[in-house]
Homo-oligomer: 300 residues x 2
Amino acid sequence: MSDILVIGSVALDTIASPAGYSKEILGGSATYFSISASFFTHVNLVATVGRDFPEEYRNTIKYFGVDMSGLETKDGLTFRWEGSYVNDLNCAQTINTQLNVFAEFKPCLPKAYEKSKFIFLANIDPDLQIFILKRFSGKRFIGCDSMNHWIKNKNSSLKKMIKKTSIIFLNDMEAKMLSGESNILKAGKYLLSLGPKFAVVKRGEYGAIIFSRDFIFMAPAYLLEEVKDPTGAGDTFAGGFMGYLAKTNKINEGNMKNALIWGSTMASFTVEDFSINRFLKITKRDIEKRYKTLKKITTI
Amino acid sequence: MSDILVIGSVALDTIASPAGYSKEILGGSATYFSISASFFTHVNLVATVGRDFPEEYRNTIKYFGVDMSGLETKDGLTFRWEGSYVNDLNCAQTINTQLNVFAEFKPCLPKAYEKSKFIFLANIDPDLQIFILKRFSGKRFIGCDSMNHWIKNKNSSLKKMIKKTSIIFLNDMEAKMLSGESNILKAGKYLLSLGPKFAVVKRGEYGAIIFSRDFIFMAPAYLLEEVKDPTGAGDTFAGGFMGYLAKTNKINEGNMKNALIWGSTMASFTVEDFSINRFLKITKRDIEKRYKTLKKITTI
């Protein structure tokens, strides 16, 4: 078993969905990733919040055993994001973004974190992602995420960053946008051509695909009767994926395929409730049960 | 091994896609279904064409060993459909439909066809589908297809027909429309509530799901670098699915799951070229190879 380190955001989200409206709930890429990964291994979190960040939310993250010595509290307000899924559950419509203290985020890594063999660079400025990677020497397994904003505005930095990573996680729209390909197989091959050993393309309710030079593998999404809030599904997916790898501490074809199913399993829980609430109500046993069901759905 | 009977259309299609333009090529639901199923078992075809139907196309269907004694030639013109995928490969835009002799289609079944244990009612008027079923007594395995037009305009006939079948094949839009559910799991359960033992929901490039009261199973779509013409993918899918079942002549969970993968395999060939052209260039071995690859893509 190996530690995992995540660098990203801890935020306050305001979400409107067909299931209701939730104001200033716990959100952020690093929050979703770390809570998901915490079911598999020890997680070190690096993020920044403002002085207004509720003690209650701090305790929630702590509850999952996440190491929070890398969570910096700064003068100012916490990063806030407001989104709506009222018109389309598959696509967030951004109502408002207030970066606040996150605008000046300069990740400060506790010395103890440097030994983490698994690192996940959540969706932040690719220049910042490159800056973080300079802190690490030796063999690491590095995952990264990004988004349309950086594909458009920091394209060359983003490609430089991807080259330095082991695996990139993008959703299908992002993969198509970055590659300029409308075909998902061509897009996957393009991502590999940028340098990483693996590329994962997430397709929402249709599951996910992992591309490598040696194999392609798909995991279905777990079929749910109701999706309440899709926020954080991608980061939860990456948390389950990378968390499982860190737990096994071995990169091989079988583990990568299983990791995809674990990622899909974890994401299916996130969307069943607002924020990370679903994880407060489930056990490792619930997760294992769903993992087995998901595996069975495509295996004769 | 058992015979399979298909009742549907044999048509002349004019297709525009990003890969080109093809005028009056061989099309129709019964054409795609029967050629696909012919790789698995003996197929009996019932359809109608006009006197203008090219001898060359008749020979093409014959080439696959399909029994054409149920193909009636009537005074008048053959059913013509013109569609475009130029703007969206996943969704046909109908440019023109000329039903011609198909408007008066009263299926005339050769006596020898009545022994077929497997029957596929391709997308035609549900009242006509019910009329056909009256010809058959005893235990049969009956599959059916339909479309948005009948869901909208012949809803109660359609439901009455579905109740009499063993399995219904719909695409995700149709399943959602018929059930009034936007969630695919709820839509699948609704289809089963109408009476059939199985319901298959086709999701285009995302594969297909089979619902039963005892299990749910998914098959991915084979990843292709280029799709030339998606016309007939659904009927080819059903042809592979039902053809495999007729070949094994046994309805059980394992066979139903395998049938879904065979269906997905056959559909992947269809879209690689216009009309049924791809099947003129492949062997059973090519099909088996792709079937194995498809199975491997989701199995660890």
